[in-house]
Amino acid sequence: MAEFIRFDRITKFYGPLCVVENLDLGIAKGEFVSLLGPSGSGKTTLLMMLAGFEQPTSGDILLDGTAINAVPTHKRDMGVVFQSYALFPHMSVGDNIAFPLQMRGLNKAETNQRVTRALDMVQLSALVDRRPSQLSGGQQQRVALARALVFEPRVVLMDEPLGALDKQLREQMQLDIRDLHRRLGLTIVFVTHDQSEALTMSDRVAVFNKGKIEQIGTPRQVYDEPATRFVAEFIGETNLVEGVVEAVQGAEANVRLTSGAQIVSAVSGAVAPGQTVYLSIRPERVDLTETRNDARNCLETEVTDSVYQGDHLRVQLQNAAHPLIAKLGRRSREFAPGTRVYAAFAAGDCRVIAP
């Protein structure tokens, strides 16, 4: 995979505070990469450095093989979409979109033509003469998108662009942006703290924590094979159970829980027998049965609570030593508190994480 953008050992300090620490990241041309993490994890700072608004304290940012640290923002040719949209309040929608084209000295005819095309693309042709303040949040968002795309930038950077929209609109825009990405072959770096947004849209997700990337991979990888406890907890919901490794055979490990139960779990990192580890088990991968079945992992538990949540049934369980949560399909039967059940899950649905 040819690298288009390269962050090479980037470190950024704000005074004594280290916000990005010795970070390496490569992004391919045409790729959609999400930077996902809680606020303060350094993801936005990284984006701001790529856009040229901030300078790394040390390290290089390369675009197409050349270092761009010294290139001022206005010569970087990157389209930025901000969370607050940052539309020019004193210009009409059309003038906003024409702005980058004017900066590049395009003639009037071509400018008009491209503005029209960009407005068509985001379905706002009727609003060309409106002021940004006269638009709804979703419309402003689309103007910001059109403005960032109209000059065909080399990279599109998005800083939580959907954060201010309501849920329904946000989901629609997620699909629209994903569609634009595919159609136009854009290279997109997308910052978000919303894990479902990152999973929905991205080719790859980089999970940030405290200025470092904890894990980078496809949405499936970061969800199903979390490398660290932080990733397991930050993306989706999970059961974390403590135990001690007894044996490792290839990609599987035998783990003894503090309750004494034996679990067979998939393992990706290096763990050694005798080591204390966590097991991550996604709630929706847990099955409940009334009799012990032949699944490889089966824990005897008692139901403490069960809540109907429309699309699933959420059951809280108490094993001898650990609470557990199971999400069951809508068609599952109800479980009354106090019922004794067996929680079963496959070895592949369980992951060993070094603490």
Partner: protein, 260 residues
């Protein structure tokens, strides 16, 4: 219920106390009498004539306009530039510098006047238009600073960053984005600077010579020595101008608000 009536009475009386004096003076501008009392014997425009054609008043009006224009220009340029400089959070002593800029609003005018008279005499600037303009600019600048920094702080910094990322150089960002957005603040600052100059008496008493006698200065000595309904005519013009200026400020503020 009695509380409600008490409240309404109190509010009405206070509104009257605040506004009535200004309204009471208005009809007297049109009196034909030479004394400033009610009832008005008959209506006449003679005091406006006096204002515009009597030598002392006419020259005072012209002086006020010259000095006001000079002050507005100087205070707006200095104040706007300084407000732009104050935006940078990296400036050392930013808070102290800002306080210094606002302090002329606080320092008693007589104190400043004494110092200014001594200083300008040293420069040979007493009894000169430049001297009066400089003195007025000192007290007008804080209004420009307050108004322009207010407008600038309302600008979302990301809008300027966005312009940069869309290919605008720093100068272009300033010309196409920052300045247009700050303009209402600059304009209202300029209006306030002009109004400050127009109303300034104390400094003028200290630094201006007979040739720089402003309208406010003329009104001051007229009330003190020889009050005539020309004062009421001048007050009428002032109040009308205030209402117009007030409307301009309100409208430009609401323009500013609408853009956001």
């Amino acid at each position: 219920m009695p509380l409600k009536i008490a409240k309404a009475t109190f509010a009405t009386l206070t509104v009257l106390f605040l506004v009535a004096p200004l309204i009471a003076i208005l009809p007297l501008a049109f009196t034909s009498s030479v004394i400033l009392t009610y009832p008005i014997p008959s209506w006449s425009l003679r005091w406006f004539e006096e204002l515009f054609f009597a030598d002392a008043w006419r020259r005072a009006i012209v002086n006020s306009l010259i000095i006001g224009a000079g002050t507005t220009l100087l205070a707006t340029i200095l104040g706007t530039a300084a407000s732009l400089g104050l935006r940078n959070r990296l400036i050392f002593f930013r808070g102290s510098i800002r306080t210094l800029f606002l302090l002329p609003m606080v320092v008693p005018a007589v104190v400043l006047g004494v110092g200014m008279q001594v200083l300008l005499a040293g420069f040979g600037l007493t009894n000169s238009y430049l001297g009066v303009i400089i003195a007025h600019t000192v007290v007008a600048v804080p209004f420009v600073i307050v108004s322009v920094t207010g407008a600038l702080s309302g600008i979302d910094e990301r809008v300027e960053l966005a312009a940069q990322s869309l290919g605008a150089s720093p100068t272009t960002v300033f010309r196409r984005v920052t300045l247009p957005l700050a303009m209402p603040g600059v304009l209202s600052g300029a209006v306030l600077a002009f109004a400050t100059s127009l109303d300034e008496v104390v400094l003028t008493l200290f630094v201006a010579g007979p040739n720089q006698r402003t309208l406010a200065r003329q009104m001051f000595s007229s009330i003190r020595e020889n009050i005539s309904p020309a004062i009421a005519a001048a007050a009428f013009l002032f109040i009308v101008a205030t209402v117009i200026i007030g409307l301009v400020v309100v409208i430009s503020r609401s323009m500013l608000a609408k853009r956001r």
